[in-house]
């Protein structure tokens, strides 16, 4: 089947999509956007978090067909004309990136958190990011990155 969707502000088309494919597969393998990651493919780790019509979702749990005529924003679409989004810059500066596999999903999740709550408390941060697993950092520098971005 053919899927028509908007990705990072651009109208895109994916052809020959098998109906069992996820939005994640279409983004990664058909549209050349491998930023969203494939770590568990059952919605447990948050590595594939993208915006779907402005709401963060696990792209692995969205069937490709469900994205028809909808608006998707991935980590690749976050930087503005002046460079990195403040959340991305904060992850870099705070040392919140080690292997980096969880990073794209976390960056989108934090981007969403700060849009909803510009000055989150420590429990707010932890509650908001509980769906994003990181195996490298122990989360210490991720919390620091969120606070840094919130102050930016």
């Amino acid at each position: 089947m053919r899927v028509n969707l908007t990705v990072n502000g651009e109208a895109r088309q994916a052809d020959d999509v098998w109906p069992g494919e996820s939005l994640l597969y279409v983004l990664r393998e058909r549209l050349g956007l491998p930023g969203a990651k494939n770590a568990c493919e059952q919605g447990e780790c948050g590595s594939c978090t993208v915006y779907l019509d402005g709401t963060p979702v696990c792209a692995c749990l969205v069937a490709a067909g469900q994205a028809e005529h909808r608006d998707v924003r991935t980590v690749e679409g976050l930087p503005g004309p002046d460079g990195l989004d403040p959340v991305q810059q904060a992850f870099l500066s705070a040392g919140a990136v080690q292997c980096g596999f969880c990073t794209p999903g976390l960056v989108v999740a934090v981007h969403d958190l700060l849009a909803r709550n510009p000055t989150p408390s420590d429990p707010d941060i932890r509650e908001a990011l509980a769906g994003n697993l990181c195996r490298c950092t122990g989360y210490e520098n991720i919390v620091a990155a969120v606070k840094l971005a919130a102050g930016a």
Partner: protein, 750 residues
């Protein structure tokens, strides 16, 4: 991973940004599962559903007939050696006549869509004669039925020090158990194999050890190593789980067979079956002490379940045994460690590598000893703390700083965390709203551990670095090239920092790690900054010597792109000395040699360097529901010299969190040889709600025999956070808790 150029930045001891960081935060960094090639096919693996069975027949018809399938291969198609393994080649590339664990690869398929490949693999009909699996490692030691012809005992390591007959007035005993932990790196096993015109293959792979893979892959493909070229693709975490080969040979076989690029990416369920795990352990300990709490003897027996294949079990059991009494002075030691074959999932390297299991037992024993004597748990540890010049149970003398007592004092003296507030989210159970404080008890516990850094027992442990200095665009610039795997720890940053420090140039490029340069050894054993850092430093020194020879000076250093005397006088610009003739040096660098253990007494200088970390854990336990919330963890660790302080703290926080996982949640549940929870829904790793704020105290005491004085950082924080948390839960509940992970039912008795 792409070649990365670091702009203006700093040398060692500062924390410049990661050169791969921008790509990682924008999603552009190419992990091994992100690779793509024109005409690429997808590989899939058919695995055994049985832990032990004879293969009666394999019918490939259904798979071969599937539209879109390009290859279906079995053991008969393995072109070279049929067996591989890191220390002992006992693992079939594809099963030959029998399977020894559930998940063992039996056949592989290449197709034009990953789902087609998976369905074709599922269409293969394997007829098995199912046999009862051997699953109890203790019984397996002497069992008549064996997993392999050689018997079930992989290795017995005995340690004998002092008197075997020592007695003491105070004796505490315990039996302890550690469950099977998974590395749970987020990036699944994956890679891309591309057939080459010369009949060889190029493999882009996420691994910890390019040359470790190279030897095994070339052997199994029946190709000379020169025709198998490996390049490091982006690695999504490792923690030991990528030290062994997984899909490397399979992807290359499919690529060579089809003449097309083949990509393989494991699903999470397959990943749980596709790599080795941390050894489950059963341990029996007896500690004897005098009435002041000074240890007189330790006797222990440690049994590690190696599962179906050897992997690194022989080295893991040596670590568990040689480090088996912890960082304490013990005059009399009798320890026996056993690694055993069973039909359980194979076990091998995971962060801490044998030291984790033993630490849970000996630290539990130290708490028990303190309780028996009415002493403070930290006091009894400090009273027995190892000091420089003391001997380990192996007879090896501990050289350089060994701040065991100091680390304990530091975590004890750290300010305690705040008392519990009213926010529901800071209670055990959190927003599940299971308590408003009733039934909640706070406990505090301590742990300290010891880890060897680097490969041991006489292994020729070295790394190779190539450093090139040249003029680019009118500026001096350096390229550093090694085969060392960046797995997230930040080695790419460190390499550039070392070059900047040694050669005084700003512009440093870290070339992609690949096998066109000599081996760097494995990114494991907390060794890579030490050994590859040492090699890069040595290569820079060789380059600098060549610069000085060319300049005809022996009294200058390189600083800011200039040759400068000690007095600060600039004698030449590096650009002028180099001209259009680059200087390149390749150096193999070794740490001081280690020696084998005596096979009867376990005596010998087997280890390179010891590293220490101590933890204090504070927990709140809902004793009615068995829910644990770790409130805070304080860590103190001596890192010798922090080359990149921010990354050092990142390693300590991350390692501590993995120890927390083992303490309260992480276990691969194996029943009758079958993994019952191969998913992130059922195998829980700590979320940001489970990991508390950390207080991290980094000491830099300097090891005079190591490059820059550094001490390996990665593993020590993983080792003692587990016993510290369990000690805290014991303090809150009064329960014995001899097994990790501690589960709610262990606390409620239900």
């Amino acid at each position: 991973m792409s070649t990365t150029t670091v702009g203006a930045g700093a040398g060692i001891g500062t924390s410049p940004l990661r050169p791969d960081g921008t790509l990682k935060v924008t999603g552009e960094f190419a992990f091994s599962s992100d690779l793509w090639a024109d005409r690429m096919l997808w590989g899939a693996t058919l695995r055994s559903p049985h832990p032990r069975a004879r293969i009666v027949g394999i019918d490939l018809t259904g798979a071969v007939a599937t539209t879109g399938v390009h290859a279906v291969l079995t053991a008969e198609d393995v072109p070279g050696k049929k067996l591989y393994g890191l220390e002992h080649a006992d693992q079939p590339v594809l099963a030959m006549g029998q399977v020894r664990y559930a998940g063992e690869p039996v056949a592989i398929v290449a197709a034009d869509h990953p789902e087609t490949a998976r369905r074709a693999a599922a269409a293969i009909v394997v007829e098995y004669e199912v046999l009862p699996p051997i699953t109890d490692p203790v019984a397996a030691i002497d069992a008549e039925e064996t997993v392999h012809d050689r018997g079930n005992l992989l290795r017995h390591v005995p340690i004998r020090k002092g008197s075997l007959e020592a007695t003491a007035p105070v004796v505490v005993t315990g039996e302890y158990e550690v469950g099977m932990q998974d590395q749970a790196f987020l990036g699944p096993e994956s890679g891309l194999a591309i057939p080459a015109e010369d009949g060889g293959v190029d493999l882009f792979i996420a691994t910890q050890w390019l040359h470790g893979d190279l030897g095994q892959v070339a052997d199994c493909l029946g190709l000379p190593p020169s025709k198998v070229r490996l390049s490091l693709a982006g690695v999504g975490g490792a923690f030991g789980g990528r030290e062994d080969v997984s899909m490397q040979v399979h992807a290359c076989m499919l690529a060579l067979h089809t003449g097309r690029p083949v990509k393989m990416v494991y699903s999470r369920e397959e990943s749980f079956h596709g790599h080795v795990h941390r050894h489950p352990a059963r341990m029996w300990y007896e500690h004897g002490a005098d009435l002041d709490g000074r240890l007189v003897y330790v006797k222990a027996r440690i049994v590690l379940d190696g599962g179906a294949y050897a992997s690194t079990s022989m080295a893991v059991v040596a670590n568990a045994t040689t480090l088996g009494v912890g960082p304490y002075k013990v005059p009399n030691v009798v320890v026996d460690g056993y690694a055993v074959y069973t039909n359980n999932p194979p076990c091998g390297a995971m962060r801490g590598f044998g030291a984790v299991q033993a630490c849970f037992a000996y630290e539990s024993q130290m708490d028990k000893l303190a309780a028996a004597l009415g002493l403070d748990p930290v006091d009894v540890r400090v009273r027995n703390a190892l000091e420089p010049g003391d001997t380990m149970p192996t007879g090896q003398v501990v050289h350089g700083p060994a701040p065991v007592a100091d680390l304990l004092d530091r975590v004890r003296a750290a300010a305690p965390p705040a008392q519990r507030g009213d926010d529901l989210r800071e209670l055990p159970g959190g927003v599940a709203n299971t308590t408003h404080g009733e039934g909640v008890r706070r406990g505090v516990g301590y742990g300290i551990g010891i880890k060897n850094v680097g490969f041991s027992e006489g292994f020729d442990d070295y790394s190779t670095a190539r450093v090139r200095l040249e003029v680019v665009g009118g500026e001096p610039a350096a390229v550093v090239h090694t085969a060392a795997a960046e797995v997230g720890q930040g080695l790419v940053t460190i390499q550039a920092q070392i070059v900047r420090t040694e050669l005084g140039v700003e512009q440093v490029t870290v070339a992609t790690a690949d096998t066109t340069v000599g081996s760097a050894g494995s990114s494991s054993a907390s060794r890579q900054t030490y050994v590859t850092g040492g090699a890069v430093k040595a290569a820079c020194e060789a380059v600098r010597a060549a610069v000085l020879r060319r300049a005809g000076r022996d009294d200058v250093t390189l600083r800011g792109g200039r040759l400068v005397t000690e007095g600060g006088e600039v004698v030449a610009d590096l650009v002028d000395v180099l001209g259009d003739r680059p200087i390149e040096e390749t150096v193999e660098w070794r740490h001081k040699p280690t020696h084998p253990l005596d096979p009867r007494t376990g005596q010998g200088d087997a280890h390179v360097q010891y590293a220490f970390a101590a933890h204090r854990a504070t927990v709140d336990v809902d004793v009615e529901l068995g829910l644990v919330r770790v409130v805070e963890i304080a860590t103190a660790q001596d890192v010798g010299r922090a080359l990149h302080p921010q990354s050092v703290r990142g390693q300590i926080a991350g390692g501590t969190a993995q120890g927390l996982g083992l303490a309260v949640m992480e276990e691969i549940q194996v029943v009758d040889g079958l993994i019952r929870n191969p998913s992130f829904t059922d195998y829980l790793i700590p979320t940001i709600l489970d990991v508390p704020p950390m207080r991290i105290d980094v000491l830099e005491l300097g090891d005079p025999s190591a490059p820059y004085g550094l001490r390996g950082v990665g593993e020590p924080p993983t080792i003692s956070s587990t016993p510290a948390i369990v000690a805290a839960i014991r303090a809150a509940t009064g329960l014995a808790l001899n097994r990790v992970p501690v589960r709610p039912e262990h606390l409620t008795g239900t």
